[in-house]
């Protein structure tokens, strides 16, 4: 069982050529999604367990 229950799908494999977009640049949507998730999480009320 993972510490945070994080599962990497697909696994963190170096042979990711075929799994990426044609661009060599960072997929900014990944960063935007992360920022949005952080913002939402911060705005959400915390349970006692999470505190």
């Amino acid at each position: 069982m993972s510490e945070f229950n994080i599962k990497l799908v697909p696994p963190s494999d170096p042979r990711l050529y075929e799994q990426r977009t044609p661009s060599y640049l960072l997929d900014v949507s990944v960063l935007e999604d992360l920022k949005e998730a952080i913002k939402t999480a911060k705005a959400a009320p915390k349970s006692s367990e999470e505190k």
């Binding site: 640049l25 990944v30 999470e50």
Partner: protein, 517 residues
Amino acid sequence: MLFEELQIAAVNVRNPESLYKLLVTDLCGEKYFRDFETRLKPQIEAFISISSHDGLNYEQFNELLLLFDQDRVTRAFFDFFFGSNGPLKLDALPTCIARFRGFAMLAFGDFRFAYKKLCCLDADGLRQKLGPYSKTTEDLASEFSSRPVPALKIEKIPRSETWCLGYIAKGVYENEATAVASQIKESHSTALMKQAEVYQQLGERIKQVEAQGLRNTDVYLTWDYMDVYVATSMRKKWEFEETAEFVSALFSHESIRKLRLRYFDPTQSQCAYRIDKGLVEALMLKRARCTVYMVQESDTMGKDSELASTLAQGKPVIAYVPRIDDIEAHAGKLYEYPLDFFKIRFQVLQAEGVLDDPKLRPELSKIEPDFIKFINEFLQSMALYRQDQPLSLWSERDKEFKLNSAPFKSICKLLATAESFNFNKRSRTLREIHPLSLQVHLESGVANGVLVVRSVNDCAEILSKLLTNSLSFSIEEDARQGCTILKEKISQSPFRVVTNYEKMANSFWNFYLRSGY
């Protein structure tokens, strides 16, 4: 450029028959020639007498060649190979002939063909045929050092952030950042939120470094000069860092700095698309005078193609194979590497049979008697840890694992020992074993060999000498391999060869010389 040929240096030039063979076979490159005729002996002795005392002037040298049924040479040829400082002394003849043979190997790959082509040329023709090799060291050093600085400079990306330009490394980031984003939608624990923010900062930094890399590529494209291309394989973070460290050490070396070289550093360049990246690198390879090829833990199609492309253009390749002499120090360096490095390297070394090599096993056994079991147990404990903590870019947590893992220092030492052995083996393969460490210049047909070095110092020295025509070579008959080798002295690598396999040579030149070279 200095050339030494012991076999020729040992010739007794005062013996008429030896002198005849020296000029006919070693200078003129004849393989099938008339046996020495004793009736010529008194006439040859006359030449020997003149050249021993006053030296042979240009005209007398040609008279000697005609006596031996060989083509005369031009004044430019005589001055270039036999010196323009007065008549040719007999004792200097072997050195001058070795000089001609060295240039013949460099530019033609064949002695007879070189002689026939060069003996009739004027100074301009010689310069054209000998190309970059015809310039003097003084002229080249002066050309390099008086170059203007570029108008646009590279914005230096620090070593620790160069991996942000990596296509595959970025894939790892995207994968892990997506997993973190998904998880914090379900759980908002402080530790997880902290990690999410680390990934957010990392993503922002990747964007900034990418922008720098894109600007740097534009700068490389504007530069008037491009001297050196660095061929490397960079997939993993540590590969970016190793390359950045090597490039920095090489080009800040004293012997290189004074030349004001311009080089393409792949750790500083970014393209938006794979097509552009391939084309930019192809252009840099075309423009650069030579390539420095980094032999790393693994080699890839990209890097090997760059080596082949350079050799096929008739340009030199210097291959840097790290030499690990201080195992303890290298183990200390490896301690800082990401955990995944250990997993991959041990698995590769095991799969390639390196860990089973009878020459390496005793060394590894001194560190851990049952080293295979020891390594496998470590990899299992790492796998368990990765199940708990799958984020490979979370280096802080990996540091804790290393600290809490009792055998980790021994693991580093085992890997350092195995890598040292492996690099030694690969160096030997490249220098002495692999047939494609010599590849043919597609225009001239000349076989072009990779110069293998084991230290940054040697790499800097050889690069500096290469670009200023001041390398030293020995010309050696290699009966074991059936050829004559032009061996570079620092690297002890074959730079050019002339084969004794006459049928192949004849067929080879029949096809190559049709190109009109």
